[in-house]
Symmetry: C2
């Protein structure tokens, strides 16, 4: 029975029943974490053999670089070749960074902010700089722009990507809008894959600001949860067709391919943009960890092998997504108190509760020992206008723990929803 159709008496009965279940859980003293998109131990174990690739004592690349020493600012040629296939760019359109694509994004914004890009004055010299933020989105993106004092404007997500009518209108009208955060393949948290039309419209954008950039965080480009994934269009290729290739910064990493703490991050863009950024990069560092770059190259050999490797990840985590979705389907669907995505890739399930319930649900879970991503985190400034979106990260906990956590989550959703509906009676 749909919860909203219950009368007060039924609702009180439902709430008391749910509360009893909740208290039982609380008594178990759980300590589980579904807050971040962390791979689980079995996933980390998949890449342990990568640590043996230097047993051959070979540290010099085919291009003659001893990866142990200083130098080679923007990546060894072998890494550029390898990762350019992942990013979908040419070898002179890529920078190989350290272990963090977030750090590469932070850096590229810092450069725009302090030095200016594309021949324009620094963003810091404007009275106001704005970013478009498709919501729900990735909290760490929003934190970077907030740090640099950027005003963030929410743009609704659709099943095809951000609302492009709104994006086109805003960027063409307002010169203060300097960028947009995008996770185009399996968006964080909803798992949306941008449609071909969306990508084409991004590639054809004519922003008022000459230094407008699309921050295309393709974090999950090979992180599929099905055997027949839908791949998004290559945005740089599309932009080139419009003579618009300077409009996009593409980011990626192997954080969720090999090791989150010790992967390799990359950035792709037009040669002009890359040449420009490399100048600032050379001030900030002599070079990133080339040993780790070569470690990846030696371990995988080809991009195709890396994609094969991802199937082992899928085998481990796809069942975990299924556990959460089945639990929601069984416990929540009949009550009409929430909706959620069933992503075909990426790391998250996006859950929408009744308006005004997300914070309460996250709090109830926390009190019973299950940590979720903070409610509001998926919105700029941590403010979810409807207080309804919760990001679920099912990959990290072991299966048995995850079953408990998912069930507890449904109990908390029920309890918070009943409380809410009662409060409105």
């Amino acid at each position: 029975m749909n919860l909203s159709q219950m009368n007060k008496e039924q609702l009180i009965g439902f709430k008391n029943e749910t509360e009893a279940l909740y208290n039982d859980f609380k008594a178990q003293g759980l300590c589980l974490n579904m807050s971040r998109g962390n791979p689980c131990k079995e996933q980390l174990d998949l890449s342990v053999d990568m640590l043996k690739v230097f047993d051959d004592g070979e540290f010099v690349t085919g291009s003659g670089i001893d990866v142990r020493n200083y130098g080679t600012l923007d990546g060894i040629p072998e890494a550029k070749t390898f990762f350019s296939e992942m990013v979908g760019v040419n070898e002179d359109e890529i920078i190989v960074f350290g272990n963090s694509s977030l750090n590469a994004m932070y850096f590229s914004i810092q450069v725009a902010y302090n030095k200016g890009i594309g021949g324009c004055k620094p963003w810091s010299s404007y009275d106001k700089v704005k970013f478009l933020c498709p919501v729900p989105g990735y909290d760490r993106h929003f934190k970077v722009t907030e740090y640099f004092g950027v005003e963030m404007i929410n743009v609704p997500m659709t099943p095809d990507g951000p609302d492009m009518d709104m994006v086109e209108k805003l960027v063409s009208e307002d010169e203060a809008i300097k960028g947009i955060w995008c996770v185009p393949q399996y968006s964080n948290p909803e798992g949306v894959c941008y449609s071909d039309e969306t990508v084409k419209r991004f590639a054809a954008l004519k922003p008022a600001a000459k230094d407008f950039r699309i921050f295309w965080d393709n974090a999950y480009c090979i992180h599929h949860l099905t055997d027949s994934p839908k791949l998004i269009l290559n945005i740089l290729d599309e932009a080139k067709k419009n003579g618009n290739e300077d409009i996009v910064y593409i980011f990626g990493s192997t954080s969720k391919v090999t090791f989150p703490g010790a992967g390799v991050a990359v950035m792709g863009s037009s040669k002009k943009n890359i040449d420009e950024l490399r100048k600032s990069l050379g001030i900030s560092i002599i070079g990133y960890d080339k040993m780790n770059q070569l470690r990846h190259i030696k371990f995988f050999g080809t991009f195709k092998n890396m994609c094969e490797h991802m199937k082992k990840h899928m085998a481990i985590i796809a069942p975990k997504f299924q556990i959460v979705c089945e639990s929601l389907e069984k416990e929540i669907a009949p009550l009409g108190i929430g909706s959620w995505t069933e992503p075909k890739g990426g790391y998250f399930i996006s859950f929408n509760s009744l308006p005004g319930c997300a914070k309460r649900i996250v709090q109830l879970c926390a009190d019973a020992g299950v940590t979720l991503t903070g409610a509001g985190a998926t919105f700029p400034y941590g403010i979810d206008p409807e207080d309804k979106n919760i990001r679920l990260a099912p990959t990290f906990p072991p299966v048995e723990d995850l079953k408990k956590a998912a069930y507890l989550f449904t109990i908390c959703v029920k309890l918070a929803s009943a409380e809410k509906l009662l409060s409105e009676m």
Copy 2:
């Protein structure tokens, strides 16, 4: 015979003789590099066993952290403990960064520039920000401050460190002076060890600017070239005695201990400063490469062992410093056309030619196939007012190559000096 005492005829004869030697060298088609402080292959080989420390399959620290996964922003506790001994700070006074201390310096300046430090307004909001730069110094330091638009003021070095009378006077009078670059142990390039008095005077500075910081790049703290090294005083300890502990940022790394491309960089300061910087750090990255941190810990075990390891480096490179110094002693000393340091540690020999000769010497060397650090590089903006300082980096070339390069260098010094003296006749 001292070159300056030669008459014109003698000088022309000397020049022609030297030119013939130079042309012989040029015909050999050498290709050697003494430009950067790169360890040589034998030094890199010393740490190769570090790559085997994970053969035991143990990735979880004693503190319970799986170093392969995300998280732990400022370093695993084991790395904080280990490196706090190297830096000379407590475990809550350290951040463990990635592979680059230069990047840590860039970051700390970027934070001061964009957000402000110590409760003061951002450096970017001042009309002018100035740094004191002991000269000769490290080119990459100067490039960072130049990048952020900082005006750099030359401060002469003495055998005891920077001219402290000048430092004290300037920082107490001028609120725009926000920092000073220091390499206190075996300064780059002169190899000067700051005297106890110098360190105490730094620790007791009373700058007009509340957000003044000493950028104490202790890059060579354990990089000795003798068995009985003189260690500098611990500046944070000294500063604490004056209630002045927020005045210093200390940097260090294992770039020249293990691998230049894949070492671990650290920063020490007061707990207050570290707590402040950690907030900005958390915006810019999720965490650095913890696997590499643990790799170092497992390989060395104790700080004492790491110091023992440095003796193996000394055995390889001390003879190289000797080769260059002997060559200078034999070829240049009798002619009175240059002076140089004989460092007890670090990576460089600082050579001063007759005024107005450094650029010409570097060019002559380059034309004969030996790359040196660019003349002027050891000064802010690349401008050596007297055009006389050249940084020699003897560690990288093999011994036989180094002998040739050192001899060629002396020929180029002779030639440039003769040209110069003739031009003034």
